[in-house]
């Protein structure tokens, strides 16, 4: 297997995202298994300050260009296509987040290379690259082997980020590319979220509701429990999509990352994009009717029962006993 192992650096709004270090740690393992060097690929308009944070790689390929300042996927994919064609790496690992979501597909289609999505682990077995991918909302794992060279999208959490951090300045190779000055997709600016009624990232106790809450009226039951416990209500994507809770209450990769003392997950199946937002809570208690719901893999305590049957009872207990205490 010839060719380097590349990791795309996800840099967003001036800083390298934590997921980059997780993927660098994985890239380091693939590099060791293949004997190829590990290169971080850093794109941006003015990113030299970020170089010392990428010491886990043997080297960094840097391309600076005014149109690479914000992650416009069309342009990033175009730049990566030029780099890949020129340097022929064996593998390009792309951290998969809302920032980088479509870069892999755009790039792979441009170059007619295989793309593997949703990777939760990658190994080299019998000189073949083998990836394990999460499908069907985290319910099934597919083990796949792409032809190489290949582009792989890696889910957050693949390795501890500490393993991909190193205090050393890697070898830097600056590469200039010819990119269009007026691309078909143009970045106009960011908008901060409107101040929500509650900042769920600051709450100690979160009562989280998902699709299993069934009806908008039942969100009120969760509100009552949260009030009785002294916490707040949040939700997973389907509940926000239905308009049952405002976007400020969304937990997950598109919403907020929360680390409360208690996360009580009611009727939440635990799709990967939700789990990313709450897995570091100190105590996770999950209630779901489906015994195979992925939420039970991340929960400390679980119960297979209709959350709507437990909710009012727990509210009543909290109300009566807190008063007494």
């Amino acid at each position: 297997m010839a060719g380097e192992i590349w990791v795309l650096v996800e840099q967003w709004r001036g800083r390298v995202s934590d997921v980059t270090y997780e993927v660098l740690a994985l890239g380091r393992e693939v590099s060791a298994a293949t004997g190829a060097s590990l290169q971080a690929v850093l794109l941006g308009s003015d990113v030299k300050d970020l170089l010392p944070t990428l010491g886990a790689a043997d080297g960094v390929l840097v391309t600076e260009h005014p149109t690479l300042g914000e992650p416009v996927s069309e342009i990033w994919a175009l730049a990566l296509a030029q780099l890949v064609e020129r340097h022929q790496p064996l593998v390009l690992l792309i951290p998969q987040t809302n920032v980088t979501m479509e870069i892999g597909s755009l790039l792979a289609t441009r170059l007619r290379l295989p793309f593997v999505n949703f990777c939760r682990d990658i190994q080299v077995t019998d000189k073949r690259l083998v990836a394990r991918c999460l499908l069907y909302g985290g319910k099934v794992e597919a083990t796949v082997a792409p032809q190489t060279p290949a582009v792989l999208g890696v889910l957050p959490g693949v390795r501890p980020q500490e393993q991909g951090r190193a205090e050393r300045t890697p070898t830097v190779t600056a590469i200039s590319l010819d990119l269009p000055a007026e691309p078909p997709v143009r970045f106009k600016g960011y908008t901060e979220p409107p101040p929500g009624d509650v900042d769920i990232t600051r709450e100690n106790i979160l009562v989280a509701v998902g699709r299993g809450i069934q009806r908008p009226e039942n969100v009120a039951l969760a509100e009552e429990l949260a009030a009785a416990l002294g916490g707040a209500v949040c939700g997973s994507r389907p509940v926000i999509d239905q308009g049952w809770l405002p976007p400020s209450r969304q937990v997950g990769t598109s919403g907020m990352i929360v680390k409360p003392q208690l996360y009580l997950a009611l009727g939440i199946s635990g799709a990967p994009e939700h789990v990313q937002g709450m897995k570091d809570a100190a105590l996770i208690i999950a209630i779901n009717t489906d015994p195979r719901a992925p939420i039970f893999s991340v929960a400390h305590y679980g119960a297979v029962v209709d959350a709507l049957e437990v909710l009012p009872v727990l509210t009543e207990i909290a109300r009566s006993r807190r008063r007494v205490a």
């Binding site: 914000e70 069309e74 809302n98 979501m101 479509e102 892999g104 755009l106 792979a108 289609t109 793309f115 999505n117 083998v130 499908l135 069907y136 985290g138 319910k139 099934v140 794992e141 597919a142 083990t143 796949v144 082997a145 792409p146 032809q147 997709v185 143009r186 106009k188 600016g189 979220p193 100690n204 416990l229 002294g230 389907p238 926000i240 976007p247 400020s248 598109s254 919403g255 907020m256 990352i257 003392q261 208690l262 009580l264 105590l283 208690i285 209630i287 195979r292 039970f296 893999s297 991340v298 929960a299 400390h300 305590y301 679980g302 119960a303 029962v305 209709d306 049957e309 006993r321 807190r322």
Partner: protein, 259 residues
């Protein structure tokens, strides 16, 4: 006037218990009930909202798979103008093959160009790529994903789209039309349509069918094995009646000084 195309895909309903087939590399079809990809439902909703705002047409396109008729008639009942099945594709679990077939059929049948192609930003079975960016590249159109709002300037032939990032931050992008957009969520929850209206659509409206010309694309990602993920991590399971479970939870909170 806006001519909008919506590419939709059916995916297994994960509420059902999925089983692995005896080959160990695919789902047992008997365990699979296909439903519309949730993000595609949002793409259809956004298309219908844009049609209401600007006039024009909405054409819904899907591969011809079991249960697709119900999905397409539902789209017609919701307000889509045309529904097209793309036939003759054996794509298996390859979004690359599906998107390749779609791009080919759209071109050969003259269904494109349109002003906008909307599709769900991703699906739970997107093993080797996402439909939107692949189709965009194959048709050589610009693409923006994670979109949660679309404003079209018909005169200037461009759109301003809002993209979702983490923590509630959004980004604003301007894109020249025609373009492909990957929809994360529509501006409003997808509309509900009563079964009677779907039945009426079945009686009064027709689905069109377009074959894919020539050989299909095949995936260069080989599936070695597929396995159901066991629940791991050792969550302590609380047993008993709802009352007993509530009591146990209360005790856990008390032990930890949370209440």
């Amino acid at each position: 006037m806006l001519n909008i195309m919506v590419l939709v895909k059916l995916v297994p309903d994960v509420v059902e218990e999925l089983e692995i087939a005896s080959d160990g590399r695919s789902l047992d079809p008997a365990s699979v009930r296909l439903i519309l990809n949730e993000r595609d439902e949002h793409a259809l909703e956004e298309a219908l909202l844009l049609k209401e705002r600007h006039g024009g047409t909405v054409t819904v396109v899907a591969l011809d798979v079991p249960e697709v008729d119900d999905v397409l008639f539902t789209a017609l009942a919701k307000g889509a103008d045309r529904a097209v099945k793309i036939s003759g594709v054996e794509a298996g679990l390859s979004t690359w093959a599906i998107a390749g077939a779609l791009a080919k059929a759209l071109t050969s049948s003259g269904l494109v160009p349109v002003d906008l192609i909307l599709t769900g930003v991703q699906a739970i079975d997107d093993l080797d790529g996402q439909t939107g960016p692949i189709v965009a590249r194959l048709l050589e159109l610009p693409y923006v994903g994670m979109v949660c709002r679309v404003e079209v300037d018909v005169e200037a032939h461009k759109a301003v789209v809002i993209r979702e990032y983490a923590g509630g931050v959004t980004g604003t992008f301007e894109v020249s039309l025609p373009a492909v957009l990957g929809i994360q969520s529509a501006e409003k929850p997808p509309r509900y349509v009563p079964v009677a209206k779907v039945r009426a659509a079945m009686k009064t409206q027709q689905l069109e069918s377009v074959p894919v010309p020539g050989q299909g694309e095949s995936s260069s990602v080989e599936i070695l094995q597929m396995a159901k993920l066991e629940v791991t991590g050792g969550a302590v399971m609380l047993e008993g009646s709802p009352e007993e479970i509530a009591e146990r939870i209360w005790d856990l909170l008390k032990e930890r000084g949370l209440v």
